[in-house]
């Protein structure tokens, strides 16, 4: 893996070297990374970058400095691979302090550049020995895993061998194996409060559910684990979030991949994942306590109507319904009908509607 990553990195530099040797201003091509340029790939059933490409060339100062930064990062990553070291995205940003003109203005800039490199090299950043700062979320349920750590191989059961917080997903899930399980489906949950509620109510035991806490917008490692649970263990995945436009985007990134990382949708997205709730129709059906939509909420919903990932009848109906009601509800709003309502009534009903149980 290291050799491949190193080779791909050198390949980029070699391209520039040859361009300059031939008297050509160095440039590089990349797919355009916008909502307008993601397309559904029928074979892999995920959303990927489309045909549109943009060229980064050193014909003006901004473009030239961008390529210079990329050259510095390539140089740094190659060195890191040769020396068998690793660093975090944040460390990379701080290392650039000493790169004069090639210094990054903000960490967003270096993060984006690393994603560009992943796209160009078709290798993930873990292969460059780069770790994200974000920690993966946690798992609780009838599942036995084996993890290869720096301090040896550990095997554990995600109900019996873990504490109340569950098993924390490591950054590099390549080191994780599923040994066996006794589950019927997976519930991915947005908030910690609901994750704890389901655990406390014994929902995992009663229904054979693996609970995965997403911690908001899920990290890459969390999304990869969901995909593998779905793909290799053949378990249905349902996503349970708040009933607002931002939470629908959490579902979309689990099911279809995110715009930022559409180059890795095949690894990260779980196309079979289904949205369980909170649906806008639930707000009315269950008379849930709700808040008024803000200006930003309304704009986000309208933007979703033009997002190709939400271009289905189901989502159009739900989003338009919500725009009519002008209301949103949190998942924990079900507590208004008693603490057991969500595990005894709502989820079983929805799961059987969806054909999961």
């Amino acid at each position: 893996m290291d050799a491949l990553a190193k080779e791909r990195l050198i390949h980029i530099a070699r391209g520039w070297y040859d361009q300059m040797r031939d008297g050509v201003v160095p440039f590089i091509r990349l797919p355009t990374r916008t909502k307008q340029n993601i397309a559904y790939d029928d074979t892999s059933e995920v959303w990927k970058y489309g045909e549109k490409e943009s060229t980064r060339a050193a014909t003006n100062e901004k473009g030239a400095v961008h390529l210079l930064k990329m050259a510095y990062v390539v140089w740094f990553l190659k060195k890191q691979l040769v020396e068998n070291r690793s660093s975090t995205l944040r460390e990379l940003y701080y290392i650039s302090e000493g790169w004069k003109k090639a210094k990054f203005a903000a960490q967003d800039e270096s993060n984006l550049l690393i994603e560009d490199l992943e796209i160009i090299t078709e290798v993930q950043r873990e292969a460059f020995h780069l770790r994200p700062e974000e920690d993966g979320a946690s798992i609780f349920g009838p599942l036995r895993i084996r993890e290869t750590t720096r301090r040896g191989v550990k095997e554990m059961h995600c109900q019996d061998d873990v504490g109340e917080a569950g098993y924390p997903i490591p950054n590099n899930v390549d080191n994780l194996e599923f040994v066996d399980h006794d589950a019927k489906f997976v519930v991915a949950i947005e908030t910690g409060g609901m994750y704890a509620r389901l655990m406390e109510n014994g929902f995992d035991e009663d229904y054979g559910a693996i609970l995965v806490h997403l911690k908001g917008q899920p990290a890459r490692s969390t999304r990869r684990v969901l995909r593998r649970l779905n793909e290799s263990l053949n378990l249905p995945v349902v996503v349970f979030t708040d009933g607002d436009p931002w939470s629908y985007r959490i579902y979309a990134s689990v099911a279809y991949g995110s715009i930022k990382s559409a180059h890795m949708s095949e690894l990260l997205a779980t196309p079979q994942a289904q949205f369980i709730g909170v649906q806008p129709s639930d707000i009315a059906d269950y008379n849930l306590p709700s808040d008024h939509l803000t200006e930003q909420d309304i704009n986000a919903l309208k933007a979703e109507l033009t997002d190709p990932r939400f271009a289905t009848d189901y989502w159009r109906t739900q989003i338009n319904l919500q725009l009519d009601m002008k209301l949103k509800s949190e998942q924990q709003a079900f507590a208004s009908r008693g603490l057991d309502f969500v595990t005894k009534e709502y989820l079983p009903t929805r799961l059987s509607e969806m054909g999961v149980i």
Binding site: I10, P26, T59, E61, A64, W75
Partner: protein, 600 residues
Amino acid sequence: MVLAEDLAKQQRSISVAEFFEKNKHLLGFDSPTRGIITTVKEAVDNALDACEEAEVLPDIFVGVKKVDAEVYRITVEDNGPGIVPENVPLVFGKLLYGSRFHQIRQSRGQQGIGISAAVLYAQLTTGTPALVISRTGAKARAHRFELMIRTETNDPEIVSHEEVDWDRTHGTRIEIQFKSNLAAKKRLLDYLRLTAIVNPHARLTADIDGEVTTFERVTSEVPPCPKPVLPHPHGIEFGALKRIAAANTGTVEEFLIGSFSRVGKKTADEMIALAKLDPARKTATLDAEELKRLLDAMQSVRVPAPLAQQCLSPIGEDLICKGLEKEIQLDFVSARTRPSSVFGGHSFVIEAAIGYGGKIPPEGSAQLFRFANRVPLLYQQGACAITNCVSQVNWKGYGLSQQGLPMGPALIMVHVASTNVPFTSESKDAVASIPEIEREIVLVLQELGRELKSYLSRRDKKKQQDDRARAICSVIPEIALKVSEIVELPLVDTSPIEGRIMRKVVAKKRTIDGKVHIDVNNYTAKEVPLVLYNLSRDKAEDAEPRPDFVDEFDGEYNKVWRCVLAPGAAWRIVYTGTGDGSLDLRGVEDNVKVVVDLDV
């Protein structure tokens, strides 16, 4: 009946002085703060007008000094022709006394109200008389007056009068004391700066409570003094016609030809025929009915436009630019003087200028400088026709953003010169909305807008070229360095890229391991003789080739090389040093020159 009789006892005439005592705001004395500015403005206007008439280069001193907690003394002294002693009391001590009211020509002051109003204001707030010293020439001694105004009769009251020695050979000095404050100090300086801009032949010195500022002149040519002209038949009103007709001794035909401008025999006969009058009638015998017919006829007959050249004195495009550049640092300035034009029988000329960049604040609305007959207009910007015209122009089309007024680092100057500037009020703060004038202002601004746009697009193109030069000559070599290191190959030479893209003369300085390298490449198709200047702390004693000339100054060495570079040729200088300092290339035109310092 009784009531009417009672009222009759109270009814009496009001003197002008009394009227203005109660209506100070009409003359610009609404507040003590503004009083200072109005006084200085009136005195300076008079001084400039007088100097112009005498054809001397104005040298004007303005002093504002605190004499008491709330009392300030305003002094304005000029080197004009002076005022004969008999007239001094009338000029400064009687409202509505002046030399220019009955003349048709461009002048700053007109009615003879301004300076005597200041005297009146002083008298009202502090009770002190105005001090005037005036001398008409080397042969006469100066006369010193202390004056007040009798408000009931609008007559001067001479408190004292004596002959004195004065170091000026000719000129006038006035000192007025009144209650005020210096809150408007900035505005006062603005007024003087603006006055200096539109009077580039004047030197103004201001001493504001000990702080001295001088606005130097940029030209030593006195502008020609506008000559009075006869009234134009289209610009006359009934009262004036009646007055001059009554004083006329000739026939109607002689009257028309002799008392009006641009009226010849043919035009006069046409008017008389239209008014159904006898050409041989004595003018003085015409009754009101006949005069009215004559007036109507005068208005309806076509008459050529009044001659503007002699009665107007525009500043001129060149002097406007010089005046602006002297006071404000600008990247771009252009001025236009429109051909003269007419409204209601009055000649006028519109001049305007646009400045951009430099020290103009980049944020907010563009600065707007309004002038009428070479006098800055400081107040009531919003009520002025000039402002309205500036807002009407679509500046977005000329590369400026716009919110009513254009925005950004721009200044717009508009000068209305006329034999009769139509103001909205007697305080002369705003030009009234006259369609002919507005049309000319919009036209001149559009002309200037096109020039601004072409400047901005040239500048953007240059910026883009500079940007490209920096990318190619400074960043790409660094990419080359890093990339060569990654692929572990010899440093790739980027000069082919430079040559192909730049087609310029490129000088580069780079310091590697204590050796300063200066490379000059001629990528143009022509042979280039050039001079290279390298100013730094390095002595460069081991320089190869040797500099043609070295000059030491304050621990810095200015090293100069001369060389002639053939098309495509490259030239390198190497010496031991730190590589600080600067590099410059001369003898090469700016548009083909690229100098890059890779050490910064």
